[in-house]
């Protein structure tokens, strides 16, 4: 969508906190099945925030220099961080019962938490949905057209404002979903937003800007190497990722699947 | 010897060959018009020669020397300069600054970070003189983003000219400008260019301008050179009139 949103990581964090507080605190005693169904609550919260943000804070800057978008979303990043601190306090929130409930299964020699399979499945479904949405629906077509040339799309009668707010909301939904689904296996913590942002950036660098399949492959690579890094070199796991990103940048500056934008 | 020669110059964008095995030549001191319908490959050819892109195959020779693999910076040093179809200027700097920057860059003075730019009187004098030649000295203190389209077009040429090139490429120097201003721009440009003995290649759509100001005309179509000759030869060329009908005036 050609929007640069530095606060995107904090929408992921918001999803994590909402779900954690809902599932891990407020309704902690309820039946586990219901809790599972409530996990996406974080995604909806993030989507709602996104729907509010786009028309107020992002729309005024589409025609202006990109720096302003960066500045505004950076301010937003700071606001959201403290907002989360205000609402949920400075301590981590967890929803670990959902994680341990599913137990683990044995895959060959290894014992693997079943919850992670759920995460993988959700990720796959979400990726498929997003891809189909952008490339196979009429809305997706409108979105791509508007992103490429806003004025021309408007001249053709597309309600650009509505397209953008809807698309942005979906993007926020995805971010919130990511945070929500991951919270049972790792707590919601202040600062996770920026960490996620930096990781997301590495994913995009490796996978290539403007490419969904690139984002997927990039995410897989980052995920795998991060785990390897944490196990083998805990101090420099971030550095390992940067090394990979740097190598990719030097060899294929547009990323593995990058398209010229 | 020709000032510039290309041999089988080719560039693909995806599946389309924007420039298809083109043998293009420009003679010393000529004013050459490069015409053709949209998408014919004119700007791509200029982009290749000026160094914006590297060709997929083929060679470019400047006065016999192979410049195909030179960087943009090196080509400018070798004497190639250009203006742009969509005007490219330093919008927040004044017109005088814009031209002065070319002069500083030409003399490798942009490295100097220890002395004030204002002190280099010679540079500013030359910049003013160039603005005068282009009829732009009245608005010299206005930032480039705040002048008329015609003035911007002229300034773009002036900035390229300030590099004192041997070969100047002008990409549609009169597009988006009123008919009266077109003539004024072309008069200024060609008089400056001819008086300094600069070889110029002008991409143009307006056939009146092409016939009035150029020595030779090269017609491109579909990435290839369709015809190459004087006004009379081109006028008489049937395939040219066939492919260009309905395209002439912007």
């Amino acid at each position: 969508m050609r929007i640069v949103n530095l606060a995107h990581g904090n929408l992921y964090a918001l999803g994590a906190f909402v779900t954690a507080s809902l599932v891990g605190k407020w309704l902690a005693g309820t039946r586990t099945l219901i809790l599972y169904l409530l996990v996406p609550a974080g995604a909806f919260a993030a989507a709602a925030v996104g729907a509010l943000l786009e028309p107020t804070l992002l729309r005024p800057f589409y025609r202006r220099a990109e720096e302003y978008q960066l500045l505004v979303t950076f301010g937003l990043l700071m606001i959201l961080e403290d907002l989360m601190r205000l609402i949920w306090g400075p301590y981590p929130l967890s929803a670990s019962t959902l994680f341990s409930e599913l137990g683990s299964i044995t895959l060959g020699d290894a014992i693997y938490p079943t919850y992670n399979l759920l995460v993988i499945a959700t990720g796959a479904v979400a990726a498929l949905f997003l891809w189909a949405f952008v490339y196979r629906t009429r809305f997706g077509l409108l979105l791509r057209a508007t992103a490429q040339d806003m004025r021309r799309a408007a001249a053709l009668g597309v309600n650009v404002n509505r397209v953008y707010v809807q698309a942005f909301t979906i993007g926020c939904f995805m971010a919130g979903l990511g945070g929500a689904i991951v919270v049972p296996s790792q707590s919601a913590v202040l600062g996770m937003g920026v960490d996620a942002l930096v990781l997301a950036f590495i994913v995009v660098v490796i996978g290539g800007l403007g490419s969904l399949e690139g984002a997927l492959i990039g995410a897989l690579i980052v995920g795998v190497f991060r785990e390897i890094g944490i196990t083998v070199f805990p101090e420099i796991e971030l550095a390992v990722l940067y090394l990979i990103a740097a190598i990719v940048l030097l060899v294929r500056p547009a990323g593995l699947f990058g398209r010229a934008t | 010897m020709n000032l510039l020669e290309t041999t089988k110059l080719t560039k693909y964008f995806g599946d389309t060959h924007a420039v298809d095995a083109v043998d293009f030549r420009v003679g010393e001191g000529e004013v050459l018009a490069l015409i053709g319908s949209n998408g014919a490959g004119k700007t791509s050819l200029v982009n290749l020669i000026s160094g914006l892109f590297q060709p997929d195959s083929g060679q470019i020779r400047l006065r016999g020397a192979d410049v195909t693999s030179l960087s943009v910076h090196e080509r400018i040093k070798a004497g190639i300069a250009r203006s742009f179809q969509i005007v490219n200027l330093f919008d927040q700097l004044t017109m005088l600054d814009n031209v002065a920057l070319s002069i500083f860059a030409r003399q490798d003075m942009t490295r100097y970070f220890w002395s004030l730019a204002d002190r280099f009187d010679a540079v500013w004098q030359e910049a003013l003189e160039i603005l005068r030649q282009f009829g732009l000295e009245r608005t010299r203190a206005i930032v480039a983003g705040g002048i008329s389209q015609g003035e911007r077009k002229l300034l773009d040429v002036a900035v390229a000219y300030a590099l004192r090139p041997r070969l100047l490429f002008l990409d549609e120097p009169t597009s988006g400008v009123s008919t009266r201003d077109k003539a004024q721009i072309m008069n200024i440009v060609t008089s400056v260019v001819r008086s300094q003995g600069i070889t110029a290649v002008i991409i143009e759509h307006d056939m009146d301008i092409v016939f009035k100001y150029s020595d030779r005309i090269v017609v491109m179509h579909d990435g290839k050179i369709l015809a190459d000759g004087t006004q009379e030869e081109i006028r008489r060329n049937d395939s040219v009139t066939r492919t260009l009908i309905g395209v002439a005036d912007a």
């Binding site: 530095l6 500045l71 | 400018i76 300069a81 330093f90 700097l93 002395s115």
Partner: protein, 334 residues
């Protein structure tokens, strides 16, 4: 003096020089007029002004928005701390030397990678690299003291001639304040010359139109890298000057919100003119001090103000003042 051009951009007229001298004189007289605590607070402001000045070389003049300048500030500060911890050095001059070298090295390394990209990529890349440094400072606690940080005692100035024995507060609000003031004025002068040099004009050209700059023969990447390194070293020097004031350096100054503060300062003061960052840094310094005192959520408050600034006052304080002056002049001459 150039009689040919009537540039819209700033020149070096006698009037401005007079103002600068006056300003310097006022700043120099302050320790005798205001309370010690206020002087030290101002010293912080001047130090941040140096950082902001360096930062704005990239933003205002080269068009590159860095969200990772905390890296160079932190490198400067930690360089000092390392000198204390491992070499038991107390001389401010040696601190500055170490800082210049360290921030130069880091800036070149980071800059080499970052200047290949522009806009979003550049910004996030700078953010990411500073985060790497932060995590290193955090995790290698046996070197950097981890989240506790490293203590730095008051240094000696001018090769040991001044300092070492005096009352710390007195030292900071007098001798050290003047030291900072002199360096501040020197940095302002150096940056002024750089920005008004042919090199500075080339940077602005790159900012305005990269393609045109390229086709005038300017090697974009090289110039951006030089600007990046100069910017980093300025900010590193600020970091070194900051540590003795704070007495301690922690990973917090490498953490991304600190980069945000530097950005904030320039937006507040106005990044499109020379003095904007200076004004912004000093004002911000006071703003933050009061905000921190007022609420734990001062970061969110600052974020709110930043958003407000970008929406309503994009040219910052100095920009707005300039506009008012221009309007007043027009009305006067009409």
């Amino acid at each position: 003096m150039n009689t040919v051009a009537l540039p819209v951009t700033e020149r070096f007229p006698i009037k401005m020089l007079a103002w600068a001298v006056l300003g310097a004189a006022v700043l120099a007289s302050l320790p005798f007029v205001i309370a010690e605590y206020q002087t030290i607070l101002l010293a912080y402001g001047l130090v941040m002004a140096i950082a902001a000045l360096g930062f704005n070389l990239l933003l205002g003049y080269t068009g590159l928005l860095s969200f990772g300048h905390s890296a160079y500030f932190g490198v400067g500060a930690y360089a000092v701390a390392m000198m204390v911890k491992y070499l038991h050095v107390q001389s401010m001059e040696l601190y500055l030397l170490a800082t210049v070298v360290a921030s130069f090295v880091v800036a070149i390394l980071f800059g080499f990678v970052c200047v290949r990209y522009t806009k979003i990529f550049f910004s996030i890349l700078t953010l990411a690299l500073s985060q790497v440094l932060w995590s290193l400072a955090y995790k290698f606690y046996w070197v950097t003291g981890g989240s506790d940080g490293l203590r730095v005692p008051t240094p000696t100035l001018l090769g040991g001639v001044i300092g070492g024995n005096e009352d710390k507060i007195y030292f900071l609000s007098h001798a050290y304040y003047y030291y900072v003031l002199v360096l501040f004025l020197a940095c302002v002068l150096v940056m002024w010359v750089i920005v008004h040099s042919p090199f500075g004009k080339a940077l602005q050209a790159i900012r305005d139109n990269e393609t045109r700059a390229r086709f005038v023969g300017i090697r974009i990447r090289q110039y951006r890298l030089v600007a990046f390194v100069v910017s980093g070293v300025f900010t590193g020097i600020a970091g070194a000057l900051w540590v003795p004031l704070n007495g301690l350096t922690t990973p917090d100054i490498l953490y991304w919100p600190f980069s945000g503060e530097i950005v904030f300062m320039c937006v507040l003061g106005g990044f499109q003119n020379f003095s904007g960052p200076i004004v912004g840094a000093v004002v911000f310094n006071y703003l933050k001090t009061y905000a921190v005192g007022a609420t734990t959520y001062w970061q969110g408050l600052l974020g709110l103000i930043l958003v407000f600034l970008v929406l309503t006052l994009p040219t910052g304080i100095v920009g707005m003042l300039n506009q008012l002056v221009r309007k007043a002049k027009k009305r006067a001459s009409a």
